[in-house]
């Protein structure tokens, strides 16, 4: 016979858990709802295909094409750079280095610390480097800074999956005469591919949505990005500037920018599920 106290405990915590879930889902719905509702007046197809017109920064007419393309180029470039750096590190740590080697420990610790660095610090760092090199705000500076932001996120997520590749699988590959590199690329990376794809997309989502790291490094502009060495607009900063405008139409456009950004991140999430299904066919569970 269960005591009254235990019965109460059970019911209490069930209610608490359900309540928390409702709050979380509710918050998401409220955020999405607010953004959608407030962006409706301003959300028009012309918004997506025009750059701002009629004034310095954020003109009264026109659209946010500058920020959409700027964000895609910047986050795309940064993510690419981050992959080129993260994947080899993770493969090395898991498949080449001895588990307890000093180098591996230091590398993992460095990544852990980098993970915790706030994005504004990356932005400030990027700014300092630019100043010392005599460069101005540019797409390239933004790409490099956001790549630094993304690397610890991507590397940690990749590390989690690559370290799960079972040793006997690696032994089997090596027993066929494969080199460590061949084993790393053709077997380990293949097995961990769904997780690797997810890691890349998580990092992309983080990178495209960050404002602090691009504020001083990528600058802002009304034009679509045409060169790596000129400033580029980004959606997070577009929202920031537009929201602070005295012009009502521009403020409304901020919500449209927010809606577009949210949509991009949602699309990435869906794309990741599709890709994981496609590339994870061969993964052994």
């Amino acid at each position: 016979m269960i005591s009254r106290r235990r019965k109460f405990e059970e019911r209490f915590f069930k209610v608490l858990m359900l309540g928390s879930t409702v709050v979380v889902i509710g918050s998401l719905l409220v955020i999405l709802g607010t953004v959608v509702v407030k962006s409706l007046p301003a959300l028009r197809f012309s918004m997506l295909v025009q750059t701002p017109k009629g004034g310095y920064y954020l003109g009264k007419e026109g659209g946010i094409l500058n920020a959409i393309l700027g964000s895609l180029y910047l986050a795309g470039g940064a993510t690419l750079l981050a992959v080129v750096l993260s994947l080899p590190v993770v493969l090395y740590l898991n498949l080449y280095a001895k588990k307890a080697s000093a180098f591996a420990t230091v590398a993992r610790f460095a990544l852990d610390v980098m993970w915790g660095i706030p994005s504004i610090v990356y932005g400030a760092f990027g700014f300092v480097v630019m100043m010392s090199l005599g460069l101005r705000a540019s797409l390239l500076a933004g790409v490099i800074t956001v790549a630094l932001l993304e690397i610890p996120i991507m590397a940690r997520a990749m590390d989690e999956v690559v370290r799960l590749v079972p040793r006997p699988l690696l032994d089997a590959s090596v027993s066929l005469g494969a080199t460590r590199f061949e084993t790393a690329i053709k077997v380990a990376a293949r097995q961990a591919l769904p997780g690797i794809v997810t890691a890349v997309l998580i990092a992309f989502g983080r990178g495209i949505g960050d404002a602090a790291s691009v504020l001083f490094t990528a600058g802002f502009t009304d034009n679509v990005p045409t060169s790596l060495l000129r400033p580029a607009a980004t959606l997070p900063l577009a929202i920031f500037f537009q929201l602070g405008s005295p012009v009502l139409e521009v403020r409304e456009r901020a919500y449209a920018s927010a809606a577009i950004l949210t949509l991009i991140v949602l699309a990435i999430s869906l794309v990741s599920r599709v890709l994981v299904r496609k590339y994870g066919r061969h993964t052994i569970r």
């Binding site: 006997p168 089997a172 590959s173 027993s175 066929l176 005469g177 077997v187 052994i284």
Partner: protein, 253 residues
């Protein structure tokens, strides 16, 4: 019986950290015969097998002394080329380790990394190995499907076919049928017996009846020491050492 031998193990000792797992093992493995290594769990049988294709290199803290000579080449010579050594030996693990790719690519993996690119020759090779493993009819319509969809018994036969595709000289089996159902076990055993005419086969097992079924030569390991070795009928039927006797009669296991 004079047995020619191109694998000679000389004074091999292995320790993991402080623990001595193999103590001064010296053994000549006869050519083109099935040598079965038996012994109670923890006696070092798997370690001995892994020492043969230098898989111990990837085990942290493993120290190896002594040597293994294959065709008079010292496997543990610092200048020895690892992929060359490992290509000579095919490994069949206890739990089938299919690679995360299609059935076709699993078999083609070895030949491809060793340089074979020609599509027609690869197809022919894959078909040949699958037929020899008795798998071709079962999988011919789904060669490009993930290998992980096969049953465990089929996977193990695939792994054997994959190992044979790189044309090794020696086949190493680490309890190759422990994870399989009786029917698949019999199929794998029969295949190993067929293979001994062309390959030297070394199998580790804890199933004495399997040893009796397939062994030509038997080596008994106990607590890291090579206690007795010789002709299967002698070691299993009339062992000389009391420890061997205790093991084969089932007193210790």
């Amino acid at each position: 019986m004079t047995l020619s031998s191109h694998i000679r193990i000389r004074d091999l000792s292995v320790s993991y950290g402080d623990q001595e797992v193999l103590k001064h093992v010296s053994l000549d493995i006869p050519d083109r015969k099935i040598t079965v290594i038996i012994g109670p769990s923890g006696c070092g049988k798997t370690t001995l097998l892994k020492a043969m294709n230098r898989l111990l290199d990837s085990v942290e803290g493993a120290r190896v002394s002594g040597t293994i000579l294959v065709d008079d080449e010292d496997l543990y010579d610092p200048k020895a080329e690892l992929t060359h050594i490992r290509k000579k030996m095919g490994l069949l693990s206890q739990k089938p380790q299919v690679l995360p790719m299609s059935i076709f690519d699993n078999i083609a993996f070895g030949p491809r990394i060793h340089g074979l690119r020609d599509k027609r020759r690869l197809s022919a090779l894959v078909e040949r190995e699958l037929r020899a493993a008795g798998l071709f009819e079962e999988v011919k319509d789904r060669l490009h499907e993930p290998a992980s969809r096969l049953s465990v018994g089929q996977q193990q036969r695939l792994c054997l076919a994959r190992g044979l595709a790189v044309e090794p000289e020696i086949i190493l089996g680490d309890e190759p049928t422990s994870a399989l159902d009786p029917l698949s076990s019999r199929i794998v055993e029969r295949r190993l017996i067929e293979l001994k005419s062309d390959y030297t086969v070394i199998v580790v097992t804890h199933i004495l009846r399997q040893a009796r079924r397939i062994a030509d030569y038997v080596a008994f390991l106990y607590l890291g020491e090579l206690v007795e070795h010789g002709d299967a009928a002698e070691v299993l039927g009339s062992p000389r050492d009391p420890r061997t006797k205790a093991y084969v009669t089932g007193e210790i296991s």
